[in-house]
């Protein structure tokens, strides 16, 4: 196996709020290999976006703070880098795409000036050279009539086009890692597929890794090589994508999969949502945070927190009862 490009080890990111300390990311460890597509899945507030922002070094401090752990990128610990060097990595070696394409472009600057900016900053290209490259980037992400688009402002573009521009901007300096934080959530379904195909294309062309952050299991199934399932700040299951659907080992994963409608299900069979609600992050239940909603929970789950353990090659699960869960079908 190749050396991992990104190694996140025991990451803890906390936010101080009026209600107490929120452990948004609590002891999260995972690796993203070079060239692979890794997906972080989970519902809103489970800490997946905070994980992405931690990697980028963009956690607003205060109130947020990375309290412990390490994030190793291509052999360098990002958390120990001075801000100046971290800034040199952002945009040139790690690119990021945000959720809202409508607001992630500056309304008063032209597409050209925003696309050329990373090139000017990181590759010291002069204005004209950077602008020519920006034009090529617009062509690359499949927006027609790039000469006109360059001089336009964000409001003149559609949501899908803006997200394409964001991809072009993130890929401008050929980063080794592209982080897509819910990048397609705000788009309609047909555009979602186009944007994801595009991200897959551009990253595979340059051999970059892609870290997809989403709550959409359909996206995971179609694009991801490996998946990490997060719940209440912790990784619950890390698995090869195909394996996750065939053999979910964590009760939360099982619940997630059951709550998605399937074409091959019996006609008329009801969807079974996960019972209960997401726990308050300032007041997590004792033991495994999922235990109040879990049908397999035993006494041990209410006292002790399970840790990620390898159950078979390529699969890690944090559950005491994973064997029973795996046998359920």
């Amino acid at each position: 196996m190749t050396e991992a490009l990104l190694k996140v080890k025991n990451l803890h990111t906390e936010f101080r709020t009026e209600g107490g300390i929120v452990k948004a990311v609590d002891d999260v460890s995972f690796e993203v290999n070079a060239g692979e597509i890794f997906a972080l899945v989970g519902e809103s507030g489970c800490g997946k976006s905070v994980t992405a922002l931690s990697i980028m070094g963009l956690i607003p401090n205060p109130p947020g703070e990375i309290t412990s752990g390490s994030i190793e990128f291509d052999g360098v610990d990002l958390l120990s880098l001075p801000s100046r060097e971290m800034r040199a990595i952002r945009g040139s070696r790690i690119g990021m795409i945000f959720q809202e394409p409508m607001s992630s472009l500056n309304p008063v600057l032209t597409i050209e000036s925003q696309l050329a900016e990373p090139l000017k900053i990181h590759e010291n290209l002069s204005g004209n050279v950077a602008n020519d490259r920006a034009k090529e980037l617009i062509d690359m992400v499949g927006i027609p009539d790039s000469a006109t688009r360059m001089k336009q402002y964000p409001h003149e573009l559609s949501g899908g086009q803006r997200q394409r521009i964001m991809i072009a901007m993130a890929m401008a300096c050929s980063p080794q890692l592209l982080i897509a934080d819910e990048a397609t959530t705000a788009l309609d379904v047909t555009i979602q597929a186009q944007i994801l195909d595009l991200m897959q294309d551009v990253t595979s062309q340059t051999g970059a890794s892609l870290l997809i952050i989403t709550h959409n299991l359909g996206i995971v199934a179609r694009y991801a090589d490996r998946v990490g399932v997060m719940y209440a700040g912790k990784l619950r299951e890390v698995s090869d994508a195909s394996d996750l659907y065939a053999e979910p080992h964590h009760p939360y994963t099982v619940g997630l999969l059951q709550s998605v409608p399937r074409l091959d299900a019996d006609k008329g069979s009801p969807l079974s949502p996960i019972a209960g609600e997401i726990p308050d992050l300032t007041d997590l239940p004792e033991g495994c945070a999922f235990n109040p909603r879990c049908e397999w929970a035993v006494d041990k789950c209410r006292i002790e927190q399970p840790t990620l353990e390898e159950t078979k090659p390529g699969k890690q699960v944090a559950c005491f009862e994973h064997e029973t869960v795996a046998l359920r079908v």
């Binding site: 963009l58 952002r90 945009g91 500056n106 309304p107 600057l109 990373p118 900053i121």
Partner: protein
């Protein structure tokens, strides 16, 4: 009509500066055509500027020389605005005073805008500096402008430069507070995050990404600063704490006329009229500019007008 699919040339896409300036001038003229109040206000301001530059040249008499024989004359064909208690021509003194009002007004606006915006942008990114600076600003704004300026003038002495300094101080404090608020809300926006994610350094984010977004607020606020600075200078001169008494300034002339208001109200009336009209014109321009720069507000005004 040309063929629609014909590719646009580079020249069309990136108009040179002369074209852009023409465009700006054109859109101003267009706006003024639709908006009579704006047109009148701009005309008044242009006349004021003309007087400010050429006032002393246009004066037909020596506006500083006293002429006791012709003192306290009512407005007549020789002295359009009459003469004051020393026999000086009020018309000449008033149009010469335009220069001082505009000099103080524009200087204060320029100084307070440049310093205020600069300081606000910088402190918005340094929390501790921000906390200290804002308390200082709060302290400054707690005093009424005129009172603070009076105190300062009595400390550093009355002169045109000192009036500008004293008025700039409070105007700057106001600017800092206004711009800081706008910057603080903008730095939470996704596109600032996106710019940071691309590795844009903080100063570049501030001046290239945030500043262009607050230009409209700054322009509108500048017009109000201009109006209030002109007014404040007149007030200070009227109180005798502004420019020295012999310098013709609207405030000084009004102050001169004050003692003779019952026998010759024309001495105070004409500079007062100039002052009122100028300030009104500037404020109305500001209103108009705000309506044009804020499409949301424009939409709202239209709907309320329809209702």
């Amino acid at each position: 009509m040309s063929v629609a699919s014909e590719p646009r040339t580079e020249w069309e896409l990136a108009p040179p500066w002369s074209t852009r300036l023409k465009g700006m001038f054109g859109s101003t003229v267009k706006a003024a055509k639709r908006d009579v109040v704006l047109a009148v206000s701009i005309t008044i301001l242009l006349i004021g500027l003309f007087l400010a530059f050429f006032g002393p040249t246009l004066a037909r008499t020596d506006y500083e020389r006293t002429d006791p024989i012709n003192r306290m004359q009512a407005p007549n064909t020789n002295h359009w605005f009459g003469t004051d208690n020393w026999g000086r021509d009020v018309f000449d003194r008033t149009i010469v005073g335009t220069r001082l009002s505009f000099l103080v007004g524009f200087s204060v606006t320029l100084i307070s805008t440049v310093i205020g915006v600069g300081v606000a942008l910088v402190i918005s990114y340094f929390k501790i500096l921000d906390a200290i600076m804002m308390r200082f600003v709060d302290g400054l704004l707690a005093f009424p402008t005129i009172l603070l300026a009076l105190a300062l003038i009595s400390l550093i002495g009355p002169s045109v430069g000192n009036v500008i300094i004293a008025l700039s101080l409070t105007a700057t404090a106001g600017k800092i507070r206004l711009v800081r608020g706008a910057v603080l809300s903008l730095r939470e926006s996704t596109y600032v995050d996106a710019a940071r994610a691309v590795g844009v350094p903080v100063p570049r984010i501030l001046f290239l990404h945030v500043l262009p977004n607050i230009v409209s607020i700054i322009i509108v606020q500048a017009t109000f600063t201009l109006a209030s600075a002109i007014l404040a200078e007149a007030s200070l001169s009227f109180l005798g704490a502004g420019v020295p008494e012999y310098v013709p300034s609207w405030g000084n002339i009004i102050a001169t006329g004050q003692g003779y208001i019952q026998v010759g109200f024309h001495i105070s009336f004409f500079p007062g009229l100039f002052l009122t009209i100028t300030v009104l014109a500037v404020v109305l321009i500001g209103d108009s500019v705000r309506d044009h720069l804020d499409p949301k507000l424009r939409g709202r005004l239209k709907t309320t007008a329809q209702q």
